[in-house]
């Protein structure tokens, strides 16, 4: 009975939050679209194909440009244009990238002018892979490797930061505490591009311990998995070091707060060992604020690390986004931003749900 009520409340809550999320995404999309539209002069689609349009005699390019402009609602006034674009987004037409294309995995059977299949020497029909430059396809295909890297980095980050944060809180002003503080400060203050470049310079170029770029080396005689890991050591190091500092400090502050609580004194008065006081009574309570961090993980996992991927030439979604920005591929950048916002919204919802799991005091109430 009680469980039933909880589930009903939970569903109510989720529905309400989803409604709110839609509202937020609506706002986000307005900002993104608004940014694109405040551009004076030539719009970005025309600008991209301007040179080609001059040379185009058949009018094919002009047609394509017009189709693209339709998708972005650039032909109509800004308000109508937004509705058009938003409608396309909802329908799943997020636009085409100017610079990327990926193979969809499907193939087109080749036919000659008369419609007869083209056969090769063995009598098999020849095929041509179909490629797509739909931004959703590109995001889907590029985010795999980014996800793997981010997942490893996140696990390492949490696995290292939380124990260190706790240790530094329990041994306040000790050696661990000071090193954690310094490390955390460094992590917060280092720009990723500089730190990445430094690591490359030292460990790759000077010492030659790790490869310079990419994911694998065709000339390497290592097994492919080991080779991949070898390539990923430096980028993951950058990601971990940069994000670990904040998490450590956060854990530490919260742990210190919890350690001052009355129930910790109660636990000590029971006669529990210090280890149990910290890792059972204090830790469960430190987890509560840590759950809010989960909101930030999701976009981090699928959104890729723009600069790190670029520096280490890993062909993930982050590098693609960087390339898109530098080459003016605005359709992709728009889609990428929207994609990240959706992830953030989902992440926030998930972390709020997790909150209710970790903290028994929190009740998800649909009405309030």
């Amino acid at each position: 009975m009680r469980l039933g009520l909880i589930i009903v409340n939970m569903i109510k809550y989720i529905i309400k939050r989803l409604a709110l999320s839609v509202l937020i995404l609506f706002g986000v999309s307005i900002i993104i679209y608004g940014l694109v539209r405040i551009k004076p002069g030539l719009d970005f689609v025309q600008a991209k194909y301007y040179a080609q349009m001059q040379l185009d005699e058949t009018g094919q390019v002009a047609q394509m440009v017009e189709r693209q402009r339709e998708i972005y609602g650039l032909t109509s006034p800004i308000f109508k244009g937004y509705l058009k674009w938003a409608g396309n987004i909802v329908k799943g037409q997020w636009g085409d990238s100017f610079i990327f294309s990926v193979s969809t995995g499907e193939v087109e059977l080749l036919v000659d002018a008369e419609g007869n299949p083209v056969l090769d020497a063995e009598g098999n029909q020849l095929t041509k892979p179909i490629s797509s430059s739909n931004v959703l396809d590109i995001i889907a295909s590029k985010s795999t490797i980014s996800f793997i890297i981010a997942l490893i980095a996140t696990i390492l980050q949490f696995g290292i930061a939380i124990p260190l944060g706790i240790t530094s809180a329990t041994k306040q002003y000790g050696v661990v505490d000071y090193s954690v503080t310094v490390l955390a400060m460094m992590g917060i203050s280092l720009p990723s591009f500089f730190f990445g470049a430094l690591l490359l310079r030292i460990f790759s170029i000077q010492l030659g311990w790790f490869p310079y770029a990419g994911l694998s080396n065709p000339n390497s005689n290592l097994p492919i998995l080991i080779d991949n890991i070898h390539h990923l050591v430096l980028p993951i190091t950058v990601l971990v070091i940069l994000s670990i500092g904040g998490l450590m400090r956060y854990t530490r502050t919260n742990m210190l707060e919890v350690l001052n609580a009355d129930y910790i004194r109660t636990a000590r008065a029971k006669g529990l060992s210090e280890h149990k006081v910290i890792y059972k009574h204090a830790f469960r309570n430190t987890l509560i604020p840590l759950v809010t961090i989960l909101a930030g993980i999701l976009p981090g996992l699928f959104g890729g690390a723009m600069i790190t991927e670029t520096i280490f030439s890993i062909d993930g979604i982050g590098k693609a986004a960087y390339k898109a920005v530098t080459m003016g591929d605005i359709p992709f950048v728009m889609a990428y931003n929207l994609f990240l916002s959706v992830l953030t919204v989902i992440g926030t919802l998930m972390s709020d749900l997790m909150y209710a799991v970790v903290d028994p005091r929190v009740k998800l109430v649909g009405g309030k």
Binding site: K16, V365, G367, K368
Partner: protein, 346 residues
């Protein structure tokens, strides 16, 4: 001189119609006061349930008297105090201060009326802004309402400080330098500086140590004599309330259960809750072994009070009627009101 001006301004908004109804000496008349807080709302933002923090409270205070309001946590005594100052909006009922209807007067007129009714709080630490000097804290509202000419301002504040037992060198200091008792004196000075008639004291001594508590109570009593102040003294400590009050009101879950003069309440206690409350107070004498009425259970949540008599869940003399019918507050001797089915209700 200036004070007269303020009074004239107030006279303009005073409703003379009520003059005949109440005696001149009655400084505050509260009739059927209700304060409900909305509790949660559904999807369409319509309030579905309320916490009845103050539910149908009426009383009258004469000038120079002290009304003690006693009750346990959640009984609405703090809300009552703040509602009288219209710090909360008033759900229903009437509050007449000196023939001015506090519920209906406009915001601007309310601002003019503000100095007349002041409030002192429980927590001396959060009731002083940490970034202002004591002089500023006490004097800012005096300046705002132009109660004294600018050139006399400083002397006036120092004078007020002196009568609250604050040495003049406090004037340019900051609250962080002072202890709880001294801060409470500053709060009293802040209220006193506005030349109020009525001061609502919301548990002014509960957060203080025993020896400091006595100092503050004595100060309040002295000031009352000196300036002819009227107090509404809110406290959970019966012995303090008994000491300082002339009339007492006992509240339970938003309603008044018993009301009367101090003698009536303490010598002729009628309501079972008041009796229990009185007997629960520990006596600092090891030889007194009194017969204690120990109430069962906890105080119910004010958001979801019991039906019938709100006290019936804990009452030792609960009858069947108590569970269904809410008793009305009835006068049994002059000025002594009780809401209980143990006594004839009609």
């Amino acid at each position: 001189m200036r004070k007269n001006n303020v009074n004239q301004e107030l006279n303009a908004i005073r409703n003379d119609q009520f003059d005949s109804e109440i005696e001149k000496k009655d400084i505050l008349v509260v009739k059927n006061l209700k304060k409900y807080f909305p509790l949660g709302s559904n999807w369409f933002k319509k309030t579905t349930s309320f916490v009845k923090a103050v539910d149908d409270v009426s009383f009258t205070i004469k000038k120079g008297n002290t009304l003690g309001v006693v009750g346990e946590s959640g009984c609405g005594k703090t809300t009552l105090g703040r509602t009288i100052l219209r710090l909360h909006s008033i759900t229903d009922g009437q509050i007449m201060y000196d023939n001015i209807d506090i519920r209906t007067i406009k915001k601007r007129e309310l601002t003019k009326l503000r100095p007349k009714i002041q409030i002192i709080f429980q927590d001396p630490y959060s009731s002083l802004s940490p970034r202002m000097t004591i002089g500023e804290i006490i004097g800012e509202a005096v300046r705002e309402h132009k109660l004294v000419p600018a050139e006399e301002h400083r002397d006036y504040i120092l004078d007020i400080m002196k009568s609250c037992g604050l040495p003049p060198y406090y004037y340019s200091r900051y609250p962080h330098e002072f202890s709880g008792g001294q801060r409470q004196r500053i709060c009293i000075a802040r209220a006193l500086a506005l030349k109020p008639d009525l001061i609502v004291c919301d548990e002014p001594v509960s957060a203080l140590d025993v020896s400091i508590q006595a100092q503050i109570i004595n100060l309040l009593v002295d000031l009352q004599k000196k300036y002819g102040l009227t107090y509404i003294f809110i406290s959970h400590d019966l012995s303090v309330v008994e000491y300082i009050s002339t009339e007492i009101m006992v509240m339970y879950l938003g309603s008044v259960v018993e009301q009367g003069t101090k003698e009536q309440i303490f010598k002729n206690t009628m309501h079972p809750y008041s009796k229990a409350l009185l007997s629960a107070v520990p006596v600092p004498d090891p030889d007194v072994k009194k017969q204690r009425i120990i109430l069962k259970g906890d105080i119910p949540s004010p958001a979801n009070p019991p039906k019938g008599c709100k006290f019936h869940t804990r009452c030792s003399e609960c009858m069947d009627i108590c569970k269904t019918v809410t008793p009305i507050l009835k006068e049994y001797e002059k000025g002594h009101f009780v809401a209980c089915h143990l006594y004839p209700q009609d």
